[in-house]
């Protein structure tokens, strides 16, 4: 980097202000879905990745630094997989905007790496022409070449290079073959790019613009591609025997749905049973470190803020990390192995009946961990109305943030009496009932939406079924790391702020003795203001404050109640908190509160991500109001019944 810096050192700052060529060169990685983009990205960048968050657009695009043999660096951006640039899906729109340099915070790329799956070369190369139209230095990567050869296929690079005027390299990204050749190309880009700003570009999906009708234009492109591929002596590989055998089971009329159910149950089981020991461990660490902090600091307002406010608040969220990581581990394995595509096919009919489509299955399943990544995952849903319906109902899935609330209330109010056999007692049944409630609400809402606001002709559903592959542990590990960063940063920030604000409100107005009694605090006065609204549900002002603070994130109510009750440990398992809340809520109101949390959209992160994903406040506002209404009515009914 230092050498390059000197090479370009002759320019003044004002020269570089507009296009910023003194910055590291930027290369975009594009290709169809499942062509191995992210695997190549991980191979090239390793841990040198940062998740870039660009304002205005939806994004969580990944940028990574590639260290080059000559000591220089190139930034690589991993774009969503696309088949074309028609901008029909959100992913396509993002890709197009980045390529045209229309995304704030990221400049137009200086060069492109187009990666395709060489076992499906013909169809994949349909993307070449629109990419070449960008007139950027381009590298064509024929990925999965080992698989192509193993299955008896072959292709020559020469004719491809000649016809399209691009450099071609063969790789097997998962096996780490051919990565150096890609690095060499990036080195060339690094040297060449320290020059004038790039001209503006536009991408068009349909060749020749409006000159030809769409079918004719595509057919013409297709004929050209076929010609090139035939000149390159492309021999299509024979079908994968393993894939055939596995599909025979996984897509079997009887076994298919059975395996599907087992997989879903396994994912569930993992969230609950397997994550719990790890969560207990994290919980213990947070508690112990808080105690240590309290013991080693002098008894001042600062200690109170740090330990009672920040540490308890942030700690209550950190304990969900293991759960989220385990879920993403499963989802990663399912996706990378190729099973997720089959699961989507199996789920499609069911989803279609309620007005969604098979691709919605992955987001909805992810919703059990956290709605935020789930809503982002819905970008692959091809139809815009289907995508809106999917992300609208996703927050009804019982996310892990509801668990501490459920755990506290169920432990306090529901007796652990056996109901059916030794496993299913009243408490477990209540928990399952709350999960069921979420599913019913999601299905009902999707059904309603697709018959009203999002009414549309049934759309087509297309799903490529990639060959089964063994997932790369490295790729999955990197993804988990990525998830941890995002989770800790996003949620950490919110909880941190809420904890400080809440703590401050309990400290004023000051009395002669210092902090006021909780009933006299500014927080209590605010709580009394909202009391009339929640009184019909059997909630008092303390619960009210909890409901307000949990607007930030659901689990915050547990920490809030802990603070309010003046209990030292605001831990959901602490007995004191359970006893305290029992004095304040009738059993009916407690069931009402559970129902309230099953429905209400108490999560700022979800609202924020909805606003970004729908480019406006209309959908998040509607969603928030709708879910609040359901929650209020539901809680009212539950309070009257129980």
């Amino acid at each position: 980097m230092a050498e390059l810096g000197f090479a370009g050192g002759g320019r003044t700052a004002s020269d570089t202000a507009v296009a910023g060529p003194a910055e590291t060169p930027l290369v975009a990685l594009i290709g169809p879905p499942n062509s191995g983009k992210t695997t190549l990205f991980n191979q090239l960048t390793g841990l040198r990745q940062k998740v870039a968050n660009y304002p205005g657009v939806t994004v969580e695009k990944k940028v990574g630094e590639v260290a080059l043999p000559n000591g220089a660096e190139v930034d690589l951006v991993d774009l969503p997989g696309v088949h074309g640039f028609s901008a029909r899906t959100l992913d396509e729109r993002i890709t197009r905007d980045v390529l045209e340099g229309r995304v704030e915070g990221i400049r137009a790329p200086d060069a492109l790496v187009l990666i395709v799956d060489s076992t499906r070369l013909e169809a994949q190369l349909m993307l070449v022409e629109p990419v070449l139209d960008l007139e950027l230095p381009t590298l064509l990567v024929l990925n999965m070449c080992d698989e192509l050869e193993a299955r008896g296929g072959r292709v020559d690079d020469g004719p491809l290079e000649e016809r399209w005027g691009v450099k071609v390299v063969r790789t097997s990204a998962s096996a780490g073959i051919g990565i150096e050749a890609v690095r060499d190309f990036l080195t060339g880009v690094g040297v060449a790019v320290l020059s004038a700003p790039q001209p503006e570009r536009t991408v068009s999906n349909v060749p020749g613009g409006v000159a030809l009708p769409m079918v004719a234009a595509f057919t013409a492109r297709r004929v050209r591609v076929r010609e090139v591929v035939q000149n390159a002596g492309y021999q299509q590989p024979s079908p994968s025997k393993l894939t055939e055998r596995l599909d025979h089971v996984f897509l079997h009329r009887l076994w298919g749905p059975l395996v599907f159910s087992v997989v879903v149950l396994l994912v569930f089981k993992s969230i609950f049973a397997w994550a719990v020991p790890v969560m207990d461990g994290v919980d213990f660490l947070v508690g112990a470190s808080g105690d240590w902090l309290a013991a080693s600091l002098p008894d001042t307002w600062f200690r109170s803020l740090l330990v009672d406010g920040v540490w308890a608040g942030v700690g209550s969220v950190v304990i969900f990390l293991p759960q989220i990581l385990i879920l993403f581990l499963f989802l990663g394995i399912l996706e990378d192995s190729g099973y997720m595509a089959r699961a989507a096919v199996i789920a499609d009919r069911m989803m279609y009946r309620v007005g969604l489509q098979g691709r919605a299955f992955l987001p909805l399943l992810s919703g059990y961990a956290c709605a935020v990544p789930a809503i982002l995952a819905a970008r692959t849903v091809s139809d815009e109305r289907d995508r809106l319906a999917t992300i609208f109902v996703t927050p009804f899935m019982t996310c892990s943030a509801r668990l501490p609330v459920y755990a506290l209330l169920i432990a306090a109010f529901i007796p652990a009496e056996p109901l059916l056999g030794p496993i299913l007692d009243m408490q477990v049944a209540t928990l399952l009932g709350l999960y069921g409630l979420g599913i019913v609400a999601a299905i009902g809402t999707a059904f309603l939406l697709k018959r009203t606001l999002l009414k549309a002709e049934p759309t087509s559903f297309l799903m490529e079924l990639p060959p089964y592959r063994i997932p790369s542990p490295r790729s999955i590990a990197l993804r988990l790391l990525d998830r941890s960063h995002i989770f800790l940063r996003r949620v950490g920030k919110v909880i941190f702020t809420v904890a400080i604000v809440l703590w401050t409100l309990t400290q004023f107005p000051r009395t002669d003795l210092g902090a006021p009694q909780i009933e006299e605090s500014a927080l209590a006065r605010m709580g009394h203001v909202i009391e009339p609204v929640i009184e019909p549900l059997g909630f008092n002002w303390k619960i009210g404050v909890g409901l307000v603070t949990s607007l930030a994130a659901r689990e915050v109510i547990v920490g809030t109640l802990g603070t309010i009750y003046g209990v030292e440990k605001a831990d959901e398992e602490a007995l004191q908190l359970q006893d305290a809340i029992k004095r304040d809520l009738s059993p009916g109101a407690a069931v009402g509160l559970l129902v309230f949390f099953a429905f209400a959209l108490q999560c700022m992160s979800t609202v924020a991500v909805m606003r970004r994903e729908t480019a406006g406040w209309k959908w998040p506002a509607l969603q928030f109001a709708y879910m609040l209404m359901l929650a209020y009515v539901g809680a009212f009914i539950a309070y009257r019944i129980f």
Binding site: R88, V215, R222, D348, L462
Partner: protein, 101 residues
């Protein structure tokens, strides 16, 4: 390959009249066919086109999903469709022994 095999048809609203013999949904398993036309609105047809599913290409149904939706092979790739979509793809049989491509 130029003489389509005539089978029972539902070619009533097919754009190419007599040359269209079948819908993809009616094709038996492992019978390779050639796509003749796509009877779908543009926004639904474009994703097919982008994946190389264009008039003239060879499609072979190889499996059906548990719900009875077709899974076809095209250019060595597997693609799952809905029955409803398959009903909109007009195809004609091609002789497997003198496969065009």
């Amino acid at each position: 390959m130029d003489t389509p095999v005539r089978l029972s048809t539902i070619s009533a609203n097919a754009p190419h009249g007599a040359t269209v013999e079948l819908r993809l949904g009616q094709v038996p398993m492992h019978q390779a066919v050639e796509l003749v036309s796509v009877d779908l609105p543009a926004d639904q047809a474009e994703p097919l086109f982008e994946r190389g599913i264009l008039p003239g290409c060879r499609i072979c149904p190889i499996r059906s999903s548990p719900s009875g939706d077709p899974i076809v092979e095209i250019d060595g790739a597997l693609l799952a469709l809905r029955k409803e979509t398959a009903e909109c793809l007009c195809v004609r049989l091609i002789n497997q022994f003198q496969d065009a491509d």
